[in-house]
């Protein structure tokens, strides 16, 4: 049976007709309008692995089963429908024409939406290009998706989103599903389906009950990943810094949020889960209290974040939410950390009423070999702070911590950081780095990047009498400068390689 791809101009009415008028569909219209979508190519018969798994394990055995296949809508900007149609046609006129058509379509490609045959939750796997960074938006938790349209290979960088269907998965599984899209990609695994996540949580209750935090963590570990967690409690600045450390590490964070709602009998607490995909900058450095009274706060370049980009299956993808300290207290007497599901800097859409939730916890799925707990990133700063301050006497310093892939870090060292060529060559020729690293990046007050202290993130057990530093990479410490002499002396005692910046 031949069912050709239909290409039409993008209009809001088209989305209403194809995807409906739920809030997620209205969000999609606004998003695509902002991205200046111009044309849509509709694949009328698309088999989506994630929906198919939900179908095989849940819908196929229901009394009124929906169709097992979907439609897929591809969005383009900058070219109209007739040009897309023409390129799809011309692509079949030989290899040169194929490659030319593919290049032009890739340049205009915004991403895709899988339209599930579920009237209550039509938005299936949706991957769209994020908003342009414009110097302030940081979408750290994205990955490339390779898409085939009529044999043409298209690529979009994003993070998959979908509406919760309430049957195979609710928000907890759906938030984890989005998060694991990134982590599975990093770990080299196939991404788990919504149903497989719900199943891995081992909840004895129907999926529609949702999941508790420990069940979500169970799902993460059962699927072959490591779970980390942190809570705001009494130290909201540390919570923000940990959140930012995850995003800087390109790790997604699933926030567990709660609010009170009125019932017929009084009031109850309801929970929801969302996935953080990025943040807005620039960020001023701020003091982060430590967990020990008397130990001075850490000056972190990430503790003041107030705008997050969030996948929320009640609303949409990369949605602008804001966090702030609340005036009310939680059950332990600590001020709550609020999540405002909306924006205060300009009007919200008429169809969305912003609301405020309390952030209860953060769950972080990590690749299984990234064994070092998030807490240790901060303990590393506490441990190395006296030595680092000794390198730069009198300089006001602040820190950022993150996990990095060993290969990515080496790539950065070779290609991006300005480093002294002889020391760099010696380092790169001789170094062996683990798969995952933990780094402390040290900055001066003018945000000049001075050094990275590089450590192993694949090991938890450590020798308390031997600092586990692998290298000191110092793009902001010029060769033969007074700071260089001090760092070199310290690197010699630590017995680690030291790569300074070029002479100034």
């Amino acid at each position: 049976m031949l069912r050709p791809i239909e290409v039409v101009e993008f209009t809001p009415d088209l989305i209403a007709k194809r995807v409906g008028n739920a809030k997620a569909a209205l969000y999609l219209v606004d998003y695509l309008t902002d991205l200046k979508a111009t044309a849509v190519a509709v694949e009328p018969h698309y088999v989506d692995r994630h929906y198919l798994d939900d179908f095989a394990n849940y819908y196929a055995r229901s009394f009124r089963a929906p169709d097992p296949h979907c439609r897929r809508l591809h969005f383009f900007c900058g070219i109209n429908a007739s040009r897309v149609e023409q390129l799809l046609d011309e692509a079949l006129l030989g290899e040169k024409a194929f490659n030319a058509a593919m290049a032009e379509l890739n340049e205009s490609y915004l991403g895709f939406v899988v339209r599930r045959p579920l009237d209550a939750a039509p938005l299936g796997r949706t991957v769209l290009r994020p908003y342009p960074p414009e110097g302030r938006r940081h979408y750290e938790v994205v990955r490339p998706y390779r898409v085939h349209l009529q044999g043409l290979r298209l690529v979009v960088h994003g993070l998959a989103y979908q509406q919760q269907d309430g049957g195979a998965a609710v928000c907890a599984s759906t938030a984890l599903w989005s998060a694991l899209q990134r982590v599975a990609h990093v770990a080299g695994h196939r991404t788990p389906t919504p149903f497989s996540i719900t199943e891995a949580a081992k909840s004895p209750f129907p999926a529609s009950h949702g999941l508790m935090e420990h069940q979500m963590a169970e799902a993460i570990t059962s699927l072959g990943y490591t779970a980390d967690r942190f809570v705001p409690a009494e130290n909201r600045a540390l919570f923000r810094a940990k959140l930012m450390a995850c995003l800087d590490s390109r790790l997604p964070v699933v926030l567990g949020i709660v609010t009170k709602v009125k019932t017929g009998a009084g009031e109850t607490v309801v929970g929801h889960a969302v996935t953080v995909t990025g943040y807005a900058g620039p960020l001023a450095a701020g003091d982060v209290p430590t967990d020990f009274e008397g130990e001075p706060p850490l000056r972190m370049g990430s503790a003041t974040v107030d705008t997050l980009y969030v996948h929320d299956d009640n609303l949409g993808f990369h949605a602008h939410f804001e966090i702030s300290d609340g005036d009310t207290l939680d059950a332990n007497g600590n001020k709550i950390l609020k999540l405002y599901r909306g924006r205060t800097d300009k009007p919200n859409p008429k169809w969305w009423t912003p609301d405020t939730w309390s952030i209860e916890s953060a769950l972080v799925p990590k690749p299984d070999k990234m064994r070092l707990p998030l807490d240790d990133l901060f303990l590393n700063v506490i441990e190395h702070r006296p030595t680092i301050e000794n390198m730069f006497p009198g300089v006001t310093l602040h820190y950022r911590v993150r996990f990095r892939a060993g290969v990515d870090y080496l790539d950065r060292v070779i290609h991006r950081d300005p480093l002294e060529p002889t020391a760099l060559r010696k380092f790169v020729r001789g170094v062996s780095l683990p798969r995952h690293l933990a780094t402390i990046s040290v900055y001066a007050a003018d945000d000049r990047h001075l050094i990275d202290v590089v450590m192993d993130a694949t090991t938890v057990a450590r020798d308390p009498n031997k600092p586990d530093v692998l290298a000191i990479i110092a793009p902001g410490v010029p060769q033969d400068s007074p700071a260089w002499a001090r760092v070199a002396a310290i690197a010699a005692i630590l017995d680690v390689p030291f790569v300074p910046g070029p002479r100034t």
Binding site: V170, C171, A172, H209, G210, L211, M212, E213, M216, V231, A233, A237, G256, V269, V270, G271, H272, A284, G286, D287, D291, E360, S361, D375, L379, N380, I382, E383, H384, R385, P386, T387, N390, F392, P393, G394, V395, A444, A445, D446, D447, R448, P464, P467, G476, V477, P478, Q479, D480, S481, P482, A483, W484, A485, R486, A489, I490, I493, L494, R503
Partner: protein, 67 residues
Amino acid sequence: MAEPTKTTMSPAEQQLFKSVAEGDADKLPRPSAEEIRAAIERGRQAREKVQNAVHPGTASSSRVFYK
């Protein structure tokens, strides 16, 4: 509320990051081995006391169903 970040370095701070003539680099002052080892030990002790104060288990897991 975090205090605003200082956005410039003082002339004294900047001096720390200026290369000297190649022949003079060996004469630049360096911290002594004792000073460095003392800083390492201070850091080790600071880590130990903070690490002992961190009790992830005390922040109990929520009993709320997220849905």
